[in-house]
């Protein structure tokens, strides 16, 4: 888990650098300070489970097996990315990895994630879905419809909210008149848990329990992971609206540093081993970026491929069909 968190952190640093260099265009979002959430949960998925990560959950992509170079290729708009250059930043999906792509409309993925969970239920497969979203997204109607729907049908799904205290520039107290996202779960009749989202072990334990319940037909759980967005909303946002003290306070709660400490204290990894792991990560990233930059841009001739099935080209990075006839 330390590896995933650190890999996510460093990849995002590298993505930011590429963005500042003008090599990555459009906008980029980071999950800085929030790495424990996607890591501590996605690590629990089995091969046939599915994840629906949102824009601050890069570790979920990594844990599901999407290779760093493929991710960089995606950000760079290259043909070897899972969208073959059709989409950018965290809008990645891959049937092969059972990563279901979110779309920009916040919370629109939640009803869709329910449908993926439903397919497991329908086919009597013992699998679960992890569905991620932010605090702001819970103000949206689709979120409500989906939470209610998941509870009514007891779908095998775990809803993971990263409460990072802001939706863009808007603090949670302007998003809602309650203190916690979990205050909402009672309206759906599903269990909920609130955990320290910067403690990867706490996320792990809560998710484990929720997955167990979901797999055994007990229905969904809402987990609120309290955390803080240690960046602007996107790379072009300086976040001047965030009080400095908040950044300082939460810097002291870095999930990576905290987990390092746990591992060292429990004698599971030495400082040296950690340093070596980090070196390896740095190297892997450089190799990945290099390989991604060698990937060609898509060709203008591909523009219309795959609007419909009859014009779809094969994409080795994403295309494994999960079932017949699709």
């Amino acid at each position: 888990m330390l590896y995933s968190m650190k890999m996510m952190r460093e990849m995002e640093h590298r993505i930011e650098k590429l963005y500042r260099q003008g090599k990555i265009v459009g906008g980029v979002f980071f999950g800085r300070g929030q790495e424990a959430i996607s890591t501590g949960s996605a690590i629990l998925t089995e091969a046939e489970d599915a994840v629906c990560p949102c824009h601050r959950d890069l570790a979920a992509f990594l844990i599901r097996g999407m290779e760093p170079w493929v991710i960089f290729a995606h950000y760079l708009g290259r043909r070897d990315g899972p969208t073959r250059g059709r989409d950018g930043n965290t809008h990645m999906g891959s049937l092969k990895h059972r990563i279901i792509s979110y779309i920009s409309s916040m919370a629109a993925i939640v009803p869709v994630a329910n449908g993926v969970a439903f397919s497991f239920q329908y086919r009597k497969q013992p699998n679960v879905v992890l569905c991620y979203f932010g605090d702001g997204a819970t103000s949206r109607g689709e979120w409500h419809e989906a939470m209610n729907y998941g509870a009514v049908f007891k779908l095998p799904i775990v809803y993971l909210c990263n409460n990072n205290k802001y939706a863009y520039s808007t603090p949670t107290q302007r998003q809602m008149a309650v203190a916690h996202i979990t205050d909402r779960a009672s309206g759906y009749g599903m269990p909920c848990r609130r955990v320290d989202g910067n403690d990867v072990l706490a996320v792990y334990e809560a998710t484990q329990e929720a997955i167990l319940q979901a797999r055994s037909g007990g229905g969904p759980t809402l987990i609120e992971c309290e955390t803080f967005r240690m960046s602007g909303h996107s790379a072009h946002d300086g976040a001047e609206y965030v009080p400095k003290e908040l950044f300082e306070e939460w810097a002291g709660k870095c999930p990576i540093a905290r987990f390092e400490k746990v591992l060292r204290e429990r004698g599971l990894l030495t400082a040296e081993e950690i340093a070596r792991m980090y070196e390896r990560i740095a190297e892997e990233i450089e190799q990945a970026v290099q390989r991604a930059e060698e990937s060609p841009f898509p060709d203008a001739g591909e523009l219309l491929d795959g609007v419909f099935a009859d014009s779809q080209a094969k994409n080795p990075q994403a295309a494994a069909s999960p079932a017949k006839g699709n």
Binding site: D87, V307, G325
Partner: protein, 324 residues
């Protein structure tokens, strides 16, 4: 062959597909014990059970989204909207999720969204709409508009088997009003093939849905005046059978574009664009569009009657084109 109403033909098409493929299932409001607001799904709960005939909460985003997710995993959901008008409440899921998933990351969304559309039954501004255009305009979606019982069955089957999201707009005025002999068993009407509903040489009336009958009614009258109208029933708006349209235009050189949906930004414009680009040389007269005027569908009988295009409108247009 068996005699079937338009509504029965839809039911039969769905029923046979559900028998054929265990991945096909239904989602919607009141489709189970109640059999749906128009009874299209009557009897299905008893036959197929709760696993496959699913009554949902009143939450279109939730169940359309669930259908999308299930389709991505390879199931074949059919979603019933109680009235097609309510498609506006789950618009984002359709145009941003379902329509773009394959293009973006290769995830096909083989689902059907169906429901009663159209006016003429005093449904008023919220139960009479023809909601096709925003979906025609969204790349990645297919749009089907059956006008006969034969097509209703053959097209719903094609829609269910299609690998992409298909919007299938039934016309509620036709549900019980038309009855035809149709083949008893399995047959498919492929998406994207128009039908010549009546052969003619003097003027082409290009239309779809319930307006096919308006065009045919007008053609009867016109025939008595020596004007032979050709009536093209498009059957699908996407994919469009452009060749059939252009062929008829080349043959008659005079064109009426007719639909029940309102005029501004309606499908007649798209047809006009294609014809004026690709068959300009063949035209001997201006194109004429006939559509509902640009206002909400009114409730009161005299207003709704004035609102909906009728045979008289078509007859007059055909006469004026002939005289041109």
């Amino acid at each position: 062959m068996a005699e079937r109403t338009y509504l029965e033909a839809i039911r039969e098409g769905i029923w046979e597909e559900m028998e054929r493929d265990g991945d096909v299932f239904l989602l919607g409001e009141d489709i189970g014990a109640y059999g749906g607001a128009f009874k299209v799904t009557a009897g299905m709960l008893e036959h197929f059970g709760e696993r496959r005939i699913i009554d949902t909460p009143l939450a279109e985003n939730a169940f359309l989204g669930a259908a999308i997710g299930a389709a991505i995993m390879g199931l074949r959901p059919i979603v019933e909207l109680q009235f097609a008008d309510f498609i506006t409440t789950a618009y984002d899921q359709i145009v941003n999720y379902a329509a773009k998933a394959r293009y973006r990351w290769g995830a096909g969304v083989p689902m059907v969204i169906r429901g009663p559309s159209g006016g003429g039954v005093h449904g008023g501004p919220f139960h009479s709409n023809n909601p096709e255009m925003p979906f025609v305009h969204t790349p990645g979606l297919k749009v089907v508009v059956p006008a006969s019982a034969y097509d209703a069955k053959g097209l719903i089957k094609a829609a269910i088997r299609d690998p992409d999201p298909v919007l299938y707009f039934e016309h509620k005025l036709l549900y019980r009003r038309i009855k035809e002999e149709i083949p008893a068993g399995d047959y498919v009407v492929p998406l994207g093939q128009a039908r010549i509903a009546r052969v003619g040489r003097d003027v082409s009336v290009i239309t779809y849905g319930a307006m096919v009958f308006v065009a045919l009614e007008a053609a009867e009258v016109l025939a008595k005046e020596g004007i032979e109208a050709e009536v093209i029933d498009l059957r699908c708006l996407v994919p469009l059978d452009e060749e059939a349209v252009l062929a008829s235009v080349r043959k008659t050189s005079r064109v009426i574009l007719l639909h029940e949906d309102t005029m501004q930004g309606g499908f007649a414009g798209e047809l006009a664009g294609r014809i004026a680009e690709k068959a300009f040389e063949s035209l001997d007269a201006p194109l004429m569009r006939i559509a509902s005027p640009d206002c909400p569908v009114p409730f009161s009988a005299p207003l709704e009657e004035a609102f909906l295009p009728n045979a008289k409108d078509v007859i007059e247009a055909a006469r004026s084109l002939k005289a041109y």
